[in-house]
Symmetry: C2
Amino acid sequence: MKQENALSRRSRQPELINPSRRTLLLGSAGAMAAVSLLGFTPLSKADEPKSLPDYAAWKDRNALIVHSANTMETHRGAIGTGVITPSEKLFVRNNLPAPPASVTEDPDAWEVRIEGVNKPATLTLAELKTLRVTTVASVLQCSGNGRAFFAHGAGGTQWSVGAAGCVMWTGVPLKDVVEALGGPVDGARYITSTGGEALPDGLDPKTLVVERSIPVKAMDSALLAWAMNDTPLTLTHGGPLRMVVPGYYGVNNVKYVKTVALTENQTEAKIQASGYRIRDVGVKGAPDQPSMWEMNVKSWVTAPLKSGQSGRNMIYGVAFGGTVSLEKIEVSTDGGKSWSPARFLGPDLGPYAWRPFVMAVDLVDGEYRIVSRATDVKGNTQPENRTENERGYGHNGWSDHGVTVTIS
Amino acid sequence: MKQENALSRRSRQPELINPSRRTLLLGSAGAMAAVSLLGFTPLSKADEPKSLPDYAAWKDRNALIVHSANTMETHRGAIGTGVITPSEKLFVRNNLPAPPASVTEDPDAWEVRIEGVNKPATLTLAELKTLRVTTVASVLQCSGNGRAFFAHGAGGTQWSVGAAGCVMWTGVPLKDVVEALGGPVDGARYITSTGGEALPDGLDPKTLVVERSIPVKAMDSALLAWAMNDTPLTLTHGGPLRMVVPGYYGVNNVKYVKTVALTENQTEAKIQASGYRIRDVGVKGAPDQPSMWEMNVKSWVTAPLKSGQSGRNMIYGVAFGGTVSLEKIEVSTDGGKSWSPARFLGPDLGPYAWRPFVMAVDLVDGEYRIVSRATDVKGNTQPENRTENERGYGHNGWSDHGVTVTIS
């Protein structure tokens, strides 16, 4: 497995190289220490990986923009019009180098420790499979999806729209696991999951470990998933076992999950305490800032993207409400001056899934700014503009997500 | 493209070779004439294709039983527990050799003639795409799925359970096309679709052409589909354009569709007039016998298939109601003496889709006959036994579809 440069684009600390701005950003002392300890060196532009890394070699290269060995984005034109994203087109974002591929050779032997329950236990995946099974469709989206549109140059992978997809997860509901182990201990307010990635010696594990806390209410929908799109979960996407929290940003869906604890407080791991926090530009991350938990309402156009013929055109896109279903989707061909209702396409896979949409429109020669605007059943509507924030998280402004199309 | 032997296993006339019974069945005079005209010779067992034919080379070989170059079945163990069958695992059944691959190089240029409407017209796929678009999940199943269980040796491919899958179709609703062309002519009672396969010279086309008529009421759900599972329709599955009739047996879903006509009468093509007709064993096919149109309620177990460990076991399977939704699914581990309710797994994709199911059961050492029984919302329940019929069509008896599992 290639691990070269694997840490160099972690977005939870300043990127060492931001290729879109072609500027060398010096990492923090901690980041540099980690890189040094793991034997990594910062990338120069010429080193930018063009091929898929070994642990994701099965992916559809043509569908993906390879930002780095740990970050691969689906081209906007490859998102398609389907209710489910084919696995080979789904984006990839790892916070640490993946464990060795050997961990997926005997998936049923994978062990997860359950803490913060009345009867703590270590369970194998084989045991989890006999507790209960559920299948749920859910959008998986990186907190930084849309970061490329921020003007202040938010550090981290410059995702456009393709750090998102909608897939089917199969696993055991977390609440069934917790109930089987005597229920939660008193005072449990968070679900804290820890990833099974190897950590370098000589560094405080809290600075690197992928350990995320989410509100205990997420127990209603969270699952420990062993399959994605009806295929055993790959190493690429966190197999053999992943914490899946439908409607929550990707980082909370901890890969290679080794420990799940019901806890009174959030973890002090850096990725939780200061990472993935919404704060003003220039401000450092801190535990009192909003954490990237539930996703907000969002949509974008997927076709046409550049040009079209005069006459009848079909405008396609995808939309989702995060943790709630959508009420409606609207499309504008004049940059948001006027809006028309679009129509959802295909079966509704539930509140956590996205819905492809389509709108037929007759267009004469000219240039059009096509934008889309989703509204969820709670009445939340996508805002026109992004909320500026240091890390470029949670962008759902409709204006930036539009496309300019020439009809001739 | 390899076309050798491609006609030799057409099930709409007696198979020349039935490999599962290892007997040479002499074809009808018509079949032999066709074979001779096309330069084909009957297969001997040693010629049985082991590898995928070129037009299906992209398929998952490990998931498929290759009966012939025109018939490939999904292994029962590869059906999985998902709501959608991945394209590479879906069964293949062609009635004639596929057209040259060049027809899918520029899909939008494909033309279909629409007749039996007030303004008959030839439309390109590009034009169809601007009329309207819909996406529907539907079971695709060969009429002869389950034929292998018939005791009288019904001729044709010896399908077990794997000539079925559930996929997403995207295309234009047929009724929108018909409305755009002025509506149906008076007296239209059938929708008659013609496939675009090349036919040999010197033979009455009616004996070979894939041309099927279905009741005009199917207009409510039929579509002209250009995509399957969000991918442009492959040559393997009838691309660039296929008539898709949700809830109807596979043969009605005419591939490479070149003409769609609203007609007063059913076509006189052999595949309609005498083929795909339910009749008693030993009786020849005739137009007054029931045609293989709407599918019946059906289910089968997909796991475990042979053995399991004592203790908690999860029994999985798939079930569907044809043109209507399911009311319930039951499972028995004692060959049908006693039944327990199973639970549907994953989102409901609508009345034409199948529903995976699961049931948890504690089993001690021993041998178990595991069967499943589905009931649709109209109260139709799978019968215990098959209805004997000459061609082995429409088998939905629960007994034959069970599996015998050893728990130790």
